[in-house]
Amino acid sequence: MRKYLLKRVFYMILTLFLVATITFFLMKLMPGTPYSNQEKMTPHQIQIMNEQYGLNKPIWMQYLLYLLGMLHGDLGTSFQFSNQPVSYLISSRIGASAQLGIQAMIFGIFFGVIVGSIAAINRNTWIDTTSTVLSIIGKSVPNFVLAVLLQYYIALKLGWFPIADWGGFSYTILPTIALGVGPLAETARFIRTGMVDVLNSDYIELAKSKGLSRFGIVYHHALRNSLIPLVTLIGPYTVALMTGSMVIENIFSIPGIGEQFVKSILTNDYPTIMGVTMLFSAGLVAVILLTDIIYGIIDPRIRLSGNED
């Protein structure tokens, strides 16, 4: 098991190295410069600025310096956000993003599992049909549309929740819903399909023949077996939440990473773009490893092969 983990961690580092390399060179190909008012600057001023940020060095040198800095936890200095270190920018903003992402994930999976299970148990009835239609809507409505609708009707018209900004828990509710409805719909659809299969399986027939109640059968046998394939979705969800957060954080003025990322792209703030890209990649790679570990925990058949590895 330890050997397996070491191997996985090695591949994670390799992946991150490749991401860093590719992003670094792609970014250099982006049109424009980091200076918003370049027209008004003299060539001399630009030269001084370039020297200050290390932009006058050859690209391969910049690249090596960046990698070296990263090893020490130094992600460079932001061009845009009052010359703060990128690592500080990230650490001061990651809390809001992480809270929003985790809440959206929990919200989506929890209610998705409930809706999907109810649909599967009542398959081919109006309950099932309703849930399918709602899932399709939930999946196809873009989250920014939903965000704006929620903001307008629930926050502005009804005044139940704050319109925007980041304060207590009540500020998180609408963005969580806006971000979590996609995963919810996806989960519901996924669980529904999986559980219909499971409910038709022989071991459910055997569970019935034991005299277990309907609830007992679903809770003790069907649920766990339908949850296993869901684990594979955690990775894609993470991606969806990361990208979704960029839009949602902007709409709700949440001081998170996503909001910062959008700004840094618009202003060619290279160190911040790099930093956030590396953060998202590291997060994703970690989630993928976590997924496999969770898989092993809830599916005993996989646990065995993990031991053999």
Partner: protein, 347 residues
């Protein structure tokens, strides 16, 4: 006379499908005596599984019981609520399934799977239930049971898994055990072990068994009585000796003829296919495949004719006015053996 613990009368079950109503069970009556093993044999699709599922109240959603009764302890099971059926299932009537590779929950320790019926029906706590599960696991012959009780299904072989399925079925000491082709999915040596185990356990646990199979070969050593099913009906029933050595229905002849024996080297499968149960024939359902069929077989459903107190067959050949026919050679041989056996007994 033996005590009847289960009495099925005139059972009729339809399945509603898009193509129409499948008349899967058509006027089936049989009973189960206390402590005996009743085998139900018949080709695929004859209605064996549907019959037993109706005993458990586990029919598919599109099934409808059109008539009949299943008397158990003086009560008609068919009138029970789902809740009442839950209290019978696993406790008084238990079931062993065909495919041990798929009938255990892959994500639950086998100890818990065996303990579940105890926790449900005997209302005992988990620890005690596991202790009893361990006892039954030893009883069904799992070696090193103390360790293995914590394992998951994929860690066991097919034969071991069927032993575990049997343990689950027997853990509450049910009065009736239904075994629906319990050995079909296993290879021959394991098959024999499982059958042997079932026989041993039957005497230890004092349960009555309904043994479903399409293989007459395994019936001889297992059953006390046999019911032969064809196209949703029982066409002949009697003691094992009566069915094996004095069969009367041409379908039973066909089944016995298609069974490998020491003397016959060629297998003769019954030609043709069973009728479409969406629109079953009005006469003897077997008529179309029956080389001995008469005109009346096509027109009118034969009633049961009594052969002995325990032996009945639904074929017009037993009508007093029917012409005498000569059964296949193998059946004639069996009839001669039967004549010798009975002559021996009466001496």
């Amino acid at each position: 006379m033996a005590e009847r613990i289960l009495d099925v009368k005139n059972l009729e079950i339809n399945f509603h499908t898009y193509a129409g109503d499948v008349k899967a069970i058509r006027d089936v009556s049989f009973h189960l005596n206390k402590g005996e093993t009743l085998a139900i044999v018949g080709e695929s699709g004859s209605g064996k599984s549907v019959t037993t599922k109706s005993l458990m109240g586990l029919l598919a959603n599109n099934a409808e019981v059109m008539g009949g009764s299943i008397m158990y302890h003086g009560k008609d099971i068919l009138k029970n609520s789902e809740k009442q059926m839950q209290n019978i299932r696993g406790k008084e009537i238990a079931m062993i399934f065909q495919d041990p590779m798929t009938s255990l929950d892959p994500t639950m320790k086998i100890g818990q799977q065996i303990a579940e019926p105890l926790i449900k029906h005997k209302k005992i706590e988990k620890k005690k239930a596991w202790a009893q599960a361990l006892d039954i696991l030893k009883l069904v012959g799992i070696t090193n049971a103390e360790e293995r009780i914590k394992d998951y299904p994929h860690q066991f072989s097919g034969g071991q898994r069927q032993r575990i399925v049997i343990a689950i079925a027997l853990v509450c000491y049910p009065e009736i055990l239904i075994a629906d082709e319990p050995t079909t999915a296993l290879d021959v040596t394991i098959q024999a072990q499982i059958l042997q185990l079932m026989k041993e356990l039957q005497s230890k646990i004092e349960t009555s068994i309904i043994f479903i199979t399409h293989d007459l070969g395994v019936v001889a050593g297992m059953a006390d009585r046999v019911a032969v099913m064809y196209a949703g009906q029982i066409v002949e029933y009697g003691t094992v000796d009566e069915i094996f050595y004095n069969p009367q229905h041409p379908y039973t002849w066909g089944l016995l003829n298609s069974m490998p024996t020491l003397t016959s080297t060629t297998l003769e499968a019954i030609p043709g296919t069973p009728p479409d149960l969406l629109d079953p024939p009005k006469g003897d359902a077997f008529a179309a495949r029956n080389p001995y069929a008469m005109k009346i077989d096509v027109e009118q459903k034969p009633p049961f004719f009594k052969v002995s107190d325990t032996h009945y067959a639904a074929t017009w050949l037993l009508h007093p006015d029917a012409p005498k026919v000569t059964p296949p050679k193998e059946i004639v041989r069996r009839h001669q053996l039967f004549a010798k056996m009975t002559a021996h007994e009466s001496v």
